[in-house]
């Protein structure tokens, strides 16, 4: 039966995340963007909310909550509403934990779930993108050669969040040659298993540490291979659903800021919001934010129901990424010249939002 009502628990989850976004993340968003550093205390506080471990089964020392993509999109929207870089940093451990819940062996779960500490952020991450023009997940160049006991990885990965500090990284690669998503597996590599190269310098996401990493004969024992058995498209659907939610959060931030500004900014003797040219733009922005949220919810709902969401998530991600450019561009536009300055956060959201169309596997639900 169709419903657009969150459960009481989900409302609480949303409110908790929103509160953290507004009272903690937003305080440091500009400073972090300028310095390229997220205060470790913010990451710690965010981590302590337990958002990346709630679904770890009790048998492995977790709270034993269900893995819910819908909960995931609620969390992602709120944290991205706070700050995208921080959200991606804080939630990075899920990039390993969620694939492990879905595909991990008994031993892998024991080993890696145990590395999550409630009061200390150690960090996991995932490496999918590669430093290549026309990057294509179906044509990964990173290769995993089967050498009886171990697999040997060779290649380069790019835009790997917190690669310098992560305890473990899932490197996505294919065994042997070929194309397509079906043959891709995850190879869990501990810190030190690859060379961390230069930090990425991006248009946005400046507070998030992303790196190019180089795998030169990295040996991964068979026990650390996350066998996806053709499930990579499913993981990608989860990541793209996550992307819709992140987009919604950033767009909502920009929309709300522009809305408040338009009510306060006086021109020709009255608030600029009382002019239709501005008011209608805000109405369009509000509409797009609602539409993308519903797409994120629907895609997440499909995942939770076990329905193949690859097409819907991919389509939704694209739609949201386009709409994000519309929303954040117009947010800066509403602020006029002030929107172009770094005294206001809208230009940051505009830069951050550009990432959605080009990034892959930044977060997962």
């Amino acid at each position: 039966m169709v419903s657009f009502e969150l459960s009481e628990e989900q409302k609480l989850l949303r409110d908790t995340c929103r509160d953290f976004a507004l009272t903690a993340m937003r305080k440091y968003d500009r400073q972090s963007d300028e310095s390229g550093e997220i205060p470790s205390d913010i990451v710690k506080q965010g981590h302590e909310l337990g958002l990346t471990t709630g679904y770890i089964p009790e048998t492995y020392g977790g709270p034993g909550g269900e893995l819910s993509a819908l909960n995931g999109v609620i969390i992602l929207e709120e944290l991205a509403y706070g700050n995208l870089s921080m959200a991606l940093n804080i939630l990075a451990p899920s990039l390993v934990n969620i694939p492990l819940v879905l595909y991990g062996t008994e031993d892998q779960k024991k080993k890696y779930f145990g590395m999550n500490k409630p009061d200390q952020f150690h960090g996991f991450t995932a490496a999918l993108a590669e430093p290549a023009v026309k990057f294509d997940p179906e044509a990964l160049r990173t290769a995993a050669a089967d050498e009886i006991d171990d697999f040997v990885l060779n290649g380069e990965k790019a835009f790997v969040a917190i690669a310098d500090s992560a305890l473990a990284t899932i490197v996505f690669a294919r065994k042997g040659s070929g194309e397509g998503l079906a043959g891709i597996d995850g190879f869990i590599v501990p810190s030190g298993g690859f060379t961390v190269k230069e930090r990425e310098k991006n248009q946005g996401l400046r507070a998030l540490k992303q790196f190019t990493i180089s795998l030169e004969g990295t040996r991964v024992p068979r026990s650390d291979v996350l066998r996806l058995s053709g499930g990579f498209a499913g993981l990608l659907a989860r990541a793209r659903t996550a992307s819709i939610a992140l987009t919604t959060g950033v767009c909502r931030a920009a929309y709300e800021y522009a809305l408040a500004y338009a009510k306060e900014r006086i021109a020709f003797g009255e608030p600029i919001a009382s002019r239709q040219s501005v008011a209608f733009t805000l109405a369009e922005m509000a509409m797009e934010v609602d539409a993308m949220r519903l797409m994120a919810w629907r895609s997440a709902w499909m995942i939770d129901k076990g329905i193949d969401a690859y097409k819907d998530a991919s389509m939704g991600k694209r739609y949201a990424a386009d709409a994000a450019m519309f929303v954040t561009r117009n947010a800066t536009q509403v602020l006029g010249g002030h929107g172009f300055t770094r005294d206001h956060p809208v230009e940051m959201w505009y830069r951050d939002a550009r990432s959605f169309a080009v990034s892959e596997f930044m977060a997962i639900v």
């Binding site: 419903s3 109405a283 609602d290 629907r298």
Partner: protein, 413 residues
């Protein structure tokens, strides 16, 4: 708990209306577009019998508007689970409009008049008038609001209502009355006195056979030509005071009542727009993808896909966005939540999407798409009115903007 699963009844309704749209409406769609002003009498009778025989009222497919109290009533009487009439209406209407939007507007039922009655009438009036509209014969309830001198500015009503004993005497001209040719009753909006402003605007039910109301003209339109859009003239039209919606005492309900009608009808209109957009999309998909061998590689890297593929994807995503906003607005009304903003969002989005999609579909089809051999050109013409009636796209944005800014009419003109 968030859920997008339709109930079995909704799925059944969707399947039924889809098949009906495909088998009954599509084949005659072009005929009644070309023969504007010819009433599709056979279709009307057949459709009426079909829906009546189901023992299940599809009346809301045009009007929207089961309110909370009616649900409670029907629950008490028949002990059946609460029906989400607005969502059900949206789902069924999307399918019917997929078949033919003009004919959909011709399906007998309470229509906009019924929706206004549901929004503004007393319980006694609801019973009396809905009985007429849900009678054994095909019937229509029309809304007569627009006048030659105004469209969106409904407060500018100049049709007058002058009290005369137990009666009101109405005088004025109403245009763009959907279903105005065959209406069994008209909900006529008139003013008790211009000096009273909005509070003086009242809705009167004028029943068929009243000698004071005359249809004077049928409009010639760009699209939805199968739908009768009429001009009616009220000349010393005597209406009993019991036909004043909401009763004489409720001073407030009048204009507000008219506006509340839209909370129910806008999602339904949005659903129709979504249906038309989908019709164009499906038509294109069938010939270019299913028969034409075009592959749409959803989710593939951008450089691997052609222009047409990405357009297909954009179209479908937009249709999904419109549908989700529509469902949400309808769902809110079903659950007694204020949905003014959401109803306008659904209408604004769907009204934009349907124009974009139907235009683009012709482009992708090539020269053949411009030909009247195909329905694509018709749908593009039909689509335009969805960004116009029930409040233009601009009015929807005004409603949304006032809601999000918390501005009054004066603060945001």
């Amino acid at each position: 708990m968030v859920d997008f699963e339709l109930t079995p009844i909704m799925k059944m309704a969707r399947e039924f209306t889809h098949n009906y749209a495909r088998d009954v409406m599509r084949p005659i769609s072009r005929k009644y577009d070309e023969e504007e002003h010819v009433a599709p009498t056979e279709f009307i009778q057949k459709t009426h019998e079909m829906f009546t025989s189901l023992g299940f009222s599809f009346s809301t497919t045009k009007a929207g508007g089961g309110s909370k109290e009616d649900d409670a009533e029907s629950k008490g009487k028949h002990d059946r689970p609460k029906m989400e009439m607005n969502l059900l209406g949206a789902i069924a209407t999307e399918e019917l409009a997929w078949g033919c939007p003009g004919l959909t507007l011709r399906i007998p039922g309470p229509g906009l008049g019924g929706a206004a009655i549901m929004a503004a009438a007393t319980p006694e009036q609801k019973k009396r008038f809905m009985k007429i509209l849900n009678g054994p014969k095909p019937s229509y309830g029309a809304m007569a609001l627009t006048e030659p001198g105004f469209g969106s500015d409904a407060s500018a009503v100049s049709t007058t209502a002058v009290k005369d004993g137990d009666y009101y005497i109405l005088n004025g001209t109403k245009i763009f009355v959907t279903g105005g040719e065959m209406a069994d009753l008209y909900v006529v909006w008139a003013t008790l006195g211009k000096d009273m402003g909005r509070s003086g605007i009242k809705a009167f039910v004028v029943e068929k056979g009243n000698p004071g109301i005359k249809m004077t003209r049928l409009e010639h339109k760009l699209g939805i030509r199968a739908s009768d859009t009429a001009e009616v003239v009220l000349e010393d039209c005597r209406v009993h005071k019991d036909n004043l919606l909401g009763g004489e005492k409720k001073e407030e309900k009048g204009f507000k009542g008219a506006m509340q009608t839209f909370d129910a009808t806008r999602p339904i209109v949005a659903a129709m727009a979504t249906g038309i957009a989908r019709a164009s999309y499906d038509y294109l998909y069938e010939d270019l993808v299913v028969k034409g061998g075009l592959e749409i590689n959803y989710g593939k890297a951008i450089h691997k896909r052609g222009y047409v593929e990405t357009v297909f994807e954009d179209m479908e995503a937009k249709i999904n966005a419109a549908r989700l906003l529509t469902w949400k607005a309808a769902w809110m009304l079903d659950h007694g939540l204020p949905n003014l903003k959401e109803a306008s969002m659904a209408k604004a989005k769907a009204g934009t999407v349907v124009d974009e999609v139907t235009q683009k579909a012709i482009e992708l089809y090539g020269p053949e798409g411009y030909s009247r051999r195909h329905l694509l050109e018709k749908w593009m013409r039909d689509a335009k009115v969805y960004d116009v009636f029930e409040g233009t796209g601009q009015i929807q944005r005004l409603v949304i903007a006032r809601a999000i800014l918390d501005y009054t009419r004066k603060e945001l003109k």
